[in-house]
Symmetry: C2
């Protein structure tokens, strides 16, 4: 069966491998929610499937279940009322270890075939998952559909493609014939067996539960490891649906469904740490806070630990051909999902003497005001604004937002907006604060949420020097530069490569610095403190398995 799955998806996999080698535009799963892509009635069926889950025990049967757990509440208002199996940790690990024994013996084709089939089924559930993502993360529906659905699925397939590309280049067998002058050569048959590391643990986050979890989940699965998925207590449902689908595919393929299991838990306690320190766990994929990521890197020494933590993303403005387009683009980046993205910009550096534009010189104040005005215009219509902003995921964001208002001169205050469909949702517009260049203690820290600082610097040279210090010391996932002078752009590229952060140059159109496209953009570099790995590259997969050989004369 698993061999049939490989054949079914061989063309997709081959195309995906081509895509990772070219890194031009490609996508396996359509991002448009149109019925042309997903079928007539798919949207309604997905909504109904989601509704049917609410207020019930989630239909997931797992071994070693000792009770119920769950307490998710939609950032748009309603309590979900879904409960999940609460696992006994020892019992679950015993079942997963048994599953791992059989899974690891299958050939890489079986791992790849099962993975791509799981992704295909997840794709079919995109609408159901979109509602689950929306009502756990606070993303507006269309973003939840795209980022939580097809974009996340593409990232998962990308990981499978990297894994497959590495596994393909290890010959299962070789006939080694060493010449012996005029005598018969020495002949040996050598067998090279791919052996997975062990059990993978995926630790999810509450803002992008699928997008950030799929790369690690599928990278580990596709290299023969069983995976325990531990969602954030506030965003269990999207990963519960994912795990359910994975288990169904595994069972249908004749594999042990416990190759993929869910470890749901409620907030508080030490579940993440307890799981991470289990000796059976040999791979950990983590997305979350700097503190928790560092703790894992420091303590989970028995495992390969891949972390995407956080950082301080920055924009350097030196000049612009069309400043209105710059302001529009930045405004959208600050507003999208209320800035609750690890890639959202925070610090905006502008020379105190202002900048040159095609329409003439703009003072620092005009630049700052232009950005503030861009945000105001983008969010002027509340009905449109809520589709960009979504809802505030948690109270920590609100507290941070309130605290940031008094950090400096207010350029744009945050405002509450009422959602026409969800009156209980907490919706906030971005806050823009002017800081002095000397306020390093403030702006070198991450203020996760819709909080941005506009900072007047002596020059772009100083801006880039601050960028360098910030990325080196605190990490960053994105850097953006606006300049018309090619020498400034070259200098920005040099700084970006030096400190290891992805750079976007003069984004004024339909691409935003927060966005990272599967099969093309590398998300995170692994070269600065924000992340110790890239989603996804060869290094992300090559150490999830080992090769064990045996040889004999023939």
């Amino acid at each position: 069966m698993s061999h049939l799955l490989f054949e079914r998806h061989a063309a997709t996999l081959e195309r995906a491998v081509q895509a990772i080698h070219e890194r031009v535009y490609w996508s396996a799963y359509p991002e448009s929610a149109s019925p042309k892509n997903y079928g007539e009635g798919a949207a309604e069926a997905g909504r109904a499937a989601f509704d049917a889950l609410l207020g019930k025990r989630f239909p997931l049967t797992q071994p070693a279940t000792v009770g119920d757990v769950g307490g998710e509440c939609s950032p748009f208002g309603p309590t979900l009322g879904v409960t999940y199996p609460k696992p006994d940790i020892d019992g679950l690990f015993a079942a997963v270890a048994r599953a791992q024994e059989s899974w690891k013996k299958l050939p890489p084709q079986a791992w790849a075939g099962v993975c791509v089939e799981i992704l295909a089924r997840i794709n079919k559930a995109s609408f159901e998952i979109a509602h689950a993502v929306m009502h756990t993360t606070g993303q507006a529906f269309m973003m939840a559909f795209q980022a939580g659905g097809p974009h996340a699925q593409d990232r998962g397939l990308e990981a499978v493609a990297y894994a497959w590309d590495e596994l393909c280049r290890i010959p299962p067998q070789a006939l080694w014939e060493k010449p012996q002058g005029k005598g018969e050569p020495i002949r040996m048959e050598k067998n090279f067996r791919v052996v997975p590391r062990g059990i993978g643990l995926v630790i999810g986050c509450c803002t992008f539960p699928t997008w950030n979890a799929y790369p690690g989940l599928f990278a580990s699965l596709a290299t023969g490891n069983a995976v325990i998925v531990k969602p954030h207590p506030a965003a269990i449902l999207p990963l519960a649906i994912t795990v359910k689908i994975a288990r169904e595919v595994l069972a249908e393929a004749g594999a042990d469904p416990n190759v993929v299991t869910l470890f749901a838990h409620e907030a508080g306690g030490t579940v993440a740490q307890d799981l991470a320190l289990r000796p059976e766990v040999r791979i950990i994929d983590f997305t979350g806070s700097i503190a928790n990521g560092r703790w894992l890197e420091e303590h989970a020494r028995q495992a390969q630990v891949y972390t995407e933590k956080a950082g301080v993303n920055q924009i350097v403005i030196d000049g612009a051909a069309d400043f209105k387009a710059v302001a529009r683009n930045i405004a959208f980046s600050l507003s999208l999902y209320t800035g609750q993205m690890c890639t959202a910009p925070q610090n905006i550096y502008v020379p105190s003497a202002g900048i040159g534009t095609a329409d003439g010189h703009l003072s620092f104040e005009e630049v700052a005001e232009g950005i503030a005005d861009g945000v105001r215009r983008l969010l002027a219509d509340p009905a449109r604004a809520v589709e960009v902003l979504g809802a505030v995921q948690n109270d920590g964001i609100l507290r941070r937002l309130e605290g940031a208002r008094s950090l400096g001169t207010l350029l744009l205050d945050t405002q509450a907006i009422t959602h026409p469909a969800f009156p209980d949702a907490t919706i906030r517009t971005p806050l823009l604060v002017k800081l002095d260049v000397g306020d390093r203690a403030t702006y070198l820290n991450e203020w996760f949420g819709p909080i941005a600082f506009v900072i007047a610097t002596a020059s772009t040279q100083e801006s880039l020097a601050i960028v360098r210090d910030t990325v080196r010391g605190h990490g960053a996932l994105t850097l953006s530069v606006y300049a018309t002078d090619s020498a400034v752009i070259e200098r920005a590229i040099e700084v970006a490569e030096d400190v290891g952060v992805a750079l976007s140059i003069n984004l004024t159109g339909g691409v935003f610095v927060n966005q990272s496209a599967a099969f093309s953009d590398f998300h995170g570099t692994g070269a600065n403190p924000a992340a110790n790995a890239t989603l996804t590259d060869a290094a992300y997969v090559a150490n999830r398995f080992r090769v064990v050989q045996h040889r004999r004369h023939v």
Copy 2:
């Protein structure tokens, strides 16, 4: 110039990449020291070049030199009397950092071209290096030539091939065109720049200074990292010659020679730790003791640490078609370089009821005596024996050998042999001790040197169970099984894959369990405590660099 080097060696590199994908027999550098391969007079010229180095300051000019250092003494007797530049640590790092700045900006072709040219020049110096290896490690000349010369060079080229194979698959640039329905697509130019991690540190050992250092040295160099080579104080000369050649090639190619530097030091002190904890050091390749390897893994957290430590290698005997051939093969493995190999077998498990052979049943005692007799026969002629044994590298081996004599029943005592050409050399034959299966506290530890234990087990099943515990708990680089029953062989393969150790089956001919062929055998698995990486595979190179992208609309 560096581009010309790439062109000069492109065919070799391409052939090497083919070899790592096929892992059938291939070698770039001839292992036979014949004049047909190395030219008439090469042997004499190499000897003369070595002799010319003795008793002098080694001709290596490095920045930040603050004195002389060195105190190598040949295990065959003579003091070498060679001194090396003693670097000021801060000054050297400053110079290396400057070199790294220019080296990292070159394209991967330049890195590869320079690497293969260095290897080609090292190959030409194989005789000189062979004498240097012989008179630091104690290897007999022919082994020093092969393992320290062409075999080590092949391992270096293998690392370059893996690096090149990974780097090739990252496109320098991509045109990303995202369709927009009937509108114009969004077009972005994306640039993907390979950015090396930083400075690599290679920590050499005193038994295989070149063979164990070249993979890390060339893997780091070929991915754009500068490398500081820190030899073992007892085996500086082979790596000093290596570094000198590397610096010559770099200078001729117009690169900064400080991309490769030597950090020689005398025994004692904390040089290795001081270097390993420098924040500039981002990659460490280590070969040596378990204690030192663990210390690095634990403390050098700023760096990627690749360790090849040590372990307990084992032989399981269940049956044999030709027991005399088995005994001959094992005897050679125990004797080769006086057992001073990280791959040499230590524990030999034999069922207490004996084994079946083509010539009938052999009791446990007959098997043990057969192996002892194999050693006696192999080493009967002292003139031939010294060419197999070489000399004892250090007094620690002698002390361990003496201590092991009283651990159990002596099956074969160690003997001193006088070397006809080097009367001062310390030469010892292997010691064979019978241990009880209950003596775990003894035989589960590594007794590095010419020390082997023959252990009577209840059955091969028990032998394999001990193997499992030993590899899991203490690590191993090799496992060997002798059996005629295919079920036993299958079981041994299963155990080997389970615990992650390379297995050799029924070696009775011209291949020995201690030998690992470049481009075919993976040395170490990274799956048991003996080594956290393989020499060489994709995982060994893929994390020595990162990719930093920049993108803009076009």
